[in-house]
């Protein structure tokens, strides 16, 4: 569903990514790992089309949902107005918008704050809203950058469980610093180092412990 062919993207003297080659398929949860500055965020943004490759080719098939590390929300809007706006942005037909919003609000337990102004809500709520916007249109590809970073432990557990239930029908890519999260969720890991793909490991074939993954990063 996502294919990188010799993709390079650099920012002058700053680090970027170099000559990336990999494919991501439906039914996989792929974790993108690496130290700070390894090129994880650049790779995610290339996948989403937020950045274009300077060289090489990136192709993507299927609708896309993106959850960046900071929730992309307008603080002056109410949650209800924001979700309606995202529904329109994502071309959900008018007749289906209400149902899509009800489902996602229920999934992330946002009913109590539906008429509240987003800027007045806690960081945890905003993170859940960030997740909700990425999934509102039921995308075939889901890309998440640090999806559980601002959630409390119970919400983290729920989100991970829920991502697992989605996995068979979608291509999911997550970037995370939590090795626990990666070990629990990922069926495959891609490890970046200095902008290059250093390791590509199918965990279904070769399960790794947290320590082993940590040693590879």
């Amino acid at each position: 569903m996502i294919k990188f062919e010799h993709v390079t993207r650099e920012f002058g003297n700053q680090k970027g990514v170099k000559d990336l080659n990999f494919e991501i398929h439906s039914g996989e949860i792929t974790a993108l790992l690496g130290r700070n500055g390894a090129g994880k965020t650049t790779t995610l943004k290339l996948m989403t089309g937020c950045l274009t490759p300077a060289a090489g080719k990136m192709t993507r098939q299927g609708s896309l949902g993106f959850v960046p590390d900071h929730a992309p929300v307008y603080p002056e809007m109410t949650l209800d107005a924001y979700l309606k706006f995202v529904a329109e942005l994502r071309d959900i037909p008018n007749s289906e918008q209400g149902q899509a919003i009800d489902q996602i609000v229920s999934k992330f337990e946002l009913e109590a704050v539906l008429d509240r102004i987003i800027g007045h809500l806690s960081k945890g709520y905003q993170q859940r809203i960030g997740l909700a916007q990425g999934l509102l249109h039921n995308p075939e590809i889901l890309i998440l950058d640090e999806p559980t970073a601002s959630l409390d432990p119970e919400q983290q557990r729920q989100t991970r469980e829920w991502l697992k239930t989605l996995a068979p029908r979608k291509a999911i890519v997550i970037s995370s610093h939590s090795l626990d999260e990666v070990a629990q969720l990922a069926s495959r890991i891609l490890i970046l180092k200095d902008g290059r793909l250093e390791h590509d490991i199918e965990l279904r074939n070769r399960p790794l412990s947290n320590e082993e993954i940590g040693a590879l990063i």
């Binding site: 989403t48 929730a71 002056e76 008018n94």
Partner: protein
Amino acid sequence: MKSIKWALIFRREFRSYFQTPLAYSVLSSLSLLGGYLMTSLMAYFQNSLVVTFWLGNMGLISVFLCPLLTMKTFSEERENHTRWLWQSAGISQGSMVWGKYLSAAALWTLILSMSLPIAFIMGKGALIGAGYLGVALVGYVLLAIGMTGAVMFESQIGAALWGWMLGLAFWMLGGIATAFPAPIQTALTFMGLQTHLDQFLQGTISVAAVGMYLISALIWIALSIQILRFRQDLNQRQGLRNGLATLMLGGVALWGISNVNWEVDGSGRIPGTLSAKTQKVLKEL
């Protein structure tokens, strides 16, 4: 059915002006300043002239006001991380810039139109109408200049400073032009924002002037789109080529429109002259 993206952006942006204090503070400060100016002018001039001079002042005020309306448009997207929302939804840079520009232009039109009833009570309809059109067009150019600043700078202050400095430079271009030799002087005078506003305030609407304002605004909007594209694609050669092509096309369009000599005179006087009343006041000045 797919929604028209620039219209969606337009609606969100226009609402957001009224969900933050910006629109209210601009409207209230302009009402205060405009009211004070009008009251002061009424002490010296007759009805129509009050509105004419007041609109002249509004032209200069718009140089400082319009960048305030555009300075937040893109820096806010960066602060809120919402640009990823647009970009991952495949919204084009053109839709982004047009949606935001048109919402600022709509707010500017709304701000101006609030004083229309008083103006029409005080002055002659056609003369006032031409004056308002002139000030509105000046604002549309200034908003487009401000939009380019908003795309270029990370901070709102940077965007506002860009808008103020360039806006003031283009406002005074007619005066600055006198320091240059004849062909450059003619070109700079033609591009000066104040040069044509004076015509509008005298009740004359010329195609060349309307065209100059609209083409100038289009050039700045096109440059904003190119800069936004460049920031995303980082293809320097293509960005530079597109930027130069925009400027060249804009220059040719400006040259073309400057040769159109068609105008409508709504002042009721003989075209090309000032009314006796206006001449008397200007002589006294």
